[in-house]
Symmetry: C2
Subunit: 343 residues, 2 copies
DNA sequence: TCAGGAATTTGTCGCGCGTAAAGTTTTTAG
DNA sequence: CTAAAAACTTTACGCGCGACAAATTCCTGA
């Protein structure tokens, strides 16, 4: 049999009885060749498992079919989940996703962009570290590569942004908490590392003032991305030192809340609403694990699927039209209140 | 100034006053050129930020500097964490890691290997789906690309395997549970999707028999990778239907345990050891979140760091020596009992 | 100071494919 | 049935770099 391996497109074109340029055209877009030609190529493809050399292809293409996906911290299930959605969508759209995590550090984020640039991707879906990002680097990157930001916005960078409307979402849960009990204190890191923290802090303050309450920021120490650990350790401290002037705590994100819940449990505080409960605790993000805390965490759900979908859609449009938007578009999705048992 | 962009190595060699082949040699290994030459190149490098074209480099190199990392499900924090370790180590060893998740499916796993093959990586670190893998595909892949398996072993495939000694780890926690209270039932999925489940089931049965107890397998329904959900839903059912003939439950992995804990909480069962507790629950893996369950989960810790380190070490050795091992090596790491509050 | 080896330069080829132009065949429309 | 359009083939070039051989320059040590 013709079990002699095919070495390159030349040889494959020979055994399929089609010229090399046409075969090349086929691999670029199977629908661009006549049906009869397509069939002959695909017949050959079954007999000899040939695939164009990845490097040779991309060296010469004006534009590759690669898209980069950069998230700030992949070991955070929130980002893992949204990355999974985006990856799948890119794949379905005919692109090859390349997933990179910044591991929570600016150096790695810059490295990631650098790596991506040398790969000449068709476009990039980018969730920056936010406060921890190097704006100059990102700006210069976005100027060279079609970039769509998600999750964390950096003003005027990239072609578009898709993310949560923190003002709406935080406002909503603050309102809910005020309506159903004591106004919440806001539990957060003093110098937060996660992207949306400042927006949420501001949204909390505004919402409280609008409702006629004095904001109560409980700002704890700690850095890095071990939010549960910080929530637990500082939660223990806050409870011990009786720093809470209210029985309701809104955490800046679910991971802090998970840690705080663990601390409350250790301190023997019953969490929940209604009779016999000492404390209400709410979070933010609808983290994949917040359905399994004890008690289940009341929180605000981000619409993962929509954010992923619209981001990819926009990038694909951008890449395929070849032109950038006339005006940068910012799309904010509303959060959804997820009432569970903790508040 | 010479702000005119450098287009290729030729031009860069010109502005740095060094010949192109020597520049090429420098990029391949900076220490392979004379110090004075290195300095001149690096001086030029600061003035003109040139980088060799990724695709052109890899097209011609016998061996690329890319290594693939494939995990079964990246949205599982366990794999996210170990992937993070491995990524960092590869990076430090001078390789470019390419992280791929199989998203829990065989088709995606095969696709991933296919993608990797077309990238001609120097080597691959691969945690297969296990039972869900397509052995033929993986075998043929490992025959073509230096492959080190981790987490989940497939007999006789790849150059080496690094993972947990399930017999030891499960034996240890079974022994601990028996010594300190009633012998445990084993809570697991009837047809598990996660890789090490069968080994753990067998290890449990063996340990129980060795200790003179009748094994008690609580096998619940459910598929996919939503282990917490399954643990919760089936935990509710098991508790409601009083299917437990003991007050001690060992879960096949921490994620199931997290779900089970949530169910027990909902049912008003106090989890923990000693007076006033209705049930002891233990897990397995020391999942990143098991420190923050209520109560904190007693479990067996896998030595993430060592598994990652040794796997990468072995792959680097393999790649740099250019030869495959005379004999496939299987290295099992001992689990460590992590005593917390749940059992 | 000089030999000899190491480092470098020069020149040249090849990798596998994209791409373009010009000529040929096939298909489609009138 | 014919002419135009579409698809294909042939031919040829270029991408940016790795790899190699031969010639040259540099550095080391006695």
């Amino acid at each position: 049999m013709g079990q002699n391996r095919i070495r390159n497109m030349e040889e494959f074109a020979a055994v399929s009885g089609i010229s090399r340029p046409t075969v090349s055209k086929y691999f670029h877009d199977p629908d661009s060749v006549r049906a009869s030609t397509r069939e002959r190529i695909e017949a050959a493809l079954e007999r000899y498992d040939y695939r164009p050399n990845f490097y040779a292809v991309n060296q010469n293409r004006r534009l590759t079919k690669n898209v980069g996906i950069v998230v700030p911290y992949l070991a955070d299930p929130f980002f893992a989940e949204i990355a999974r959605c985006i990856e799948t969508l890119c794949y379905a759209a005919g692109f090859r996703p390349i997933l990179l995590s910044s591991h929570g550090g600016q150096a790695q984020e810059n490295d990631n962009l650098d790596s991506l640039r040398s790969i000449r991707p068709a476009g990039v879906l980018f969730a920056p570290l936010g406060r921890g990002s190097d704006r100059a680097v990102i700006e210069s990157f976005a100027a060279a590569v079609p970039t769509v930001l998600f999750d964390s916005n950096i003003e005027d960078v990239g072609e578009a942004f898709f993310g949560l409307d923190n003002v709406q979402s935080v406002g909503m849960i603050v309102e809910y908490l005020c309506r159903t009990g004591e106004p919440p204190a806001f539990f957060e890191m003093r110098t937060p590392t996660n992207p949306n923290a400042f927006k949420r802090r501001r949204a909390y303050v505004e919402a409280m003032e609008r409702l006629g309450h004095a904001p109560d920021l409980v700002q704890v120490e700690g850095g890095g991305w071990d939010f549960e650990e910080i929530g637990y350790r500082e939660g223990m401290r806050v409870i011990s030192e009786r720093r809470l002037s209210t029985n309701t705590v809104l955490c800046s994100n679910d991971r802090l809340a998970i840690g705080f819940l663990a601390a409350a449990f250790d301190k023997g505080l019953r969490i929940g609403r209604g009779e016999g409960h000492a404390l209400r605790v709410a979070g933010h993000d609808d983290h994949p694990f917040s359905r399994f805390t004890c008690p289940k965490l009341t929180t605000v759900a981000q619409d993962y699927a929509s954010i992923a979908e619209r981001s990819v859609e926009e990038l694909v449009r951008l890449v395929e039209s070849g032109e950038s938007r006339p005006r940068r578009e910012t799309t904010l999705f509303e959060g959804k209140l997820i009432m569970r048992d903790s508040a």
